[in-house]
């Protein structure tokens, strides 16, 4: 597909919007349908689209396999870390009220935990995509 100008330009134009939409889904996750899992998949879809159009090697130069693997681990640390922070602040594990006065603490807590989900889901989705896309068939 590297010769197709429309596809190349289209992908280039779409990718930033897909990423923005993913973040939008994430930051509205506490109120409305959405959240870290969906947002992570949408972000990974942007990477997959670019890889399909520009080739795996080109995309892996920017989003390296090592980076996405680190993302997968980092997300778990963020999620569990939010719980540890609330515990250090004197509440129970994942007791979001510790993070701010009143209602706001719940928002921060959920967004923090969902950020962990987003990072892990993004990392795992892209890793799975890389592994399957990177397989070479027997005929080649």
């Amino acid at each position: 597909m590297r010769g197709e100008v429309v596809v190349r330009v289209g992908a280039k134009v779409l990718a930033p919007f897909i990423i923005t939409f993913g973040l939008c889904v994430h930051f509205h996750g506490d109120y409305s349908p959405g959240g870290g899992f969906q947002a992570g998949v949408i972000l990974a879809a942007a990477i997959a689209l670019l890889a399909l159009v520009y080739g795996l090697e080109a995309v892996q130069k920017v989003v390296t396999p090592r980076f996405v693997r680190a993302c997968a681990a980092l997300g778990v640390i963020i999620f569990a870390g939010v719980g540890v922070v609330t515990m250090v602040l004197g509440h129970n594990y994942l007791g979001y009220d510790a993070l701010a006065e009143g209602h706001a603490g719940q928002h921060y807590g959920i967004l923090g935990v969902e950020l962990g989900v987003l990072v892990t889901v993004f990392g795992v989705m892209v890793t799975v995509f890389y592994l399957f896309a990177g397989r070479r068939g027997r005929t080649q």
Partner: protein, 492 residues
Amino acid sequence: MSAHLPILQVVVPLLAAPFCLFLKRGRMAWGLAVFASWAALAIALALLGQVTQEGVLSYAIGDWVPPIGIEYRVDIVNAWVLVIVSGIGAVVAPYSMASIEREVEAGRIPLFYAAYLLCLSGLLGITITGDMFNVFVFLEISSLSAYALIALGQARRALTSAFRYLIMGSVGATFIVIGIGLLYVMTGSLNMADLAQLLPEVWDSRTVKVAYGFLAVGFCLKLALFPLHLWLPNAYTYAPSAVTAFMASTATKVAVYMLLRFFLTVFGAPFSFDVMALDRVLLPLALVAIASMSLVAIFQVNVKRLLAYSSVAQIGYMILGLSFATVTGLTATLLHLFNHALMKGALFMAMGCVMYRIGSVHINAVAGLGRRMPWTMAAFVAGGLSLVGVPLTVGFVSKWYLILGALERGWWWAAILVLLTSLLALVYIWRVVEVAYFRDFPGDEATREAPWTLLGPTWALVALNLYFGIDAGRTVGIARQAAEVLMAGIGP
């Protein structure tokens, strides 16, 4: 700090797992895994101490009061299982360094420790939580990491056996979540203590009985009760040695705990035994498992496979104790959870030492090792004697209470079966011992005893086998107390 122990029990290994991925060197990941495993054991022992003194502990996650939020609830039953799981983890973690470096390629070692810690935290999570859906979540965490651990085995067949386990395990987990869903539909609650209050009102409904059936099949798949054990022998045979030692001593035990917790606490012992006739359903399966799997074990030529079939038979003993439907029978079950973990852990770890030096666990590979690797084979003999149930070992204590339970019910034939199948265990253990001690060593003169990093943990378990075989008062006391809690609502 001590108020947070229930959650730390799960969070410490869970948080250590992703850090393992950031550590480049296998040894550093190993150090972190050992630290997390030992911390988990320390927490479990502290929890057991707290529970025996203060009674049931409850921890509300996110400050949401149960039954609305997720509750971690520790009583004597799961404090006991937590000690078993984290104790085995604390012994296997140091053992795994040398064993895994030999059996897993260097680049994957940090991944191994990450998966191992996830598996540990999943098993601890299943045990500690008081929320049914949380059980399912942790079940998936422990199962998925277990599939990955088994697939790390050297032989290509490790992949197919892990895949087979994945299929069977997923079917089991799906059955469990369907059962949980049906219960939620009927009661609107996921909290176990709350359900125990709500369920008696809807005992008559068909939905609850169907849920019971789904849960029963799911648990029996997970704990590998005959005839749902088919995933187990291959998975144990082809997994890396340290993984086999860990899984054989923990995963099926936690599945037995899940069964006890759901059927005796959530549904209640009266419902299980009087309405659903759980004892009469499980009794024949347990008897067939004990007899047939002990026989099958005799004809195995791969020692790990032999021990795997023996594990299925031993699970039969645990279920047999449950199917007596008495406190003594259940005491035997809970004792055997602990004792079997000790003996099978020691046996599989001894075979890991053989694998380390000889590179095979075929029965011919142990020929002459009685003199070449005296400490390894002595550990195997000690573990084997415990498996047979010789006095002064933990195996004897389990069998004693099992036979006591059988005689209490007047089922002398069950007592005779336990004795006869112990002889079968003697036969299959003796086959290995005979080859090891009465045949000449065919291999290289340079073959030496396994390193102390492997022997130390193995002998630690052997020592516990002997210690708790001689001084059984404490373990029997806790097991009986736990059995009384589970059998609440039914006569002694």
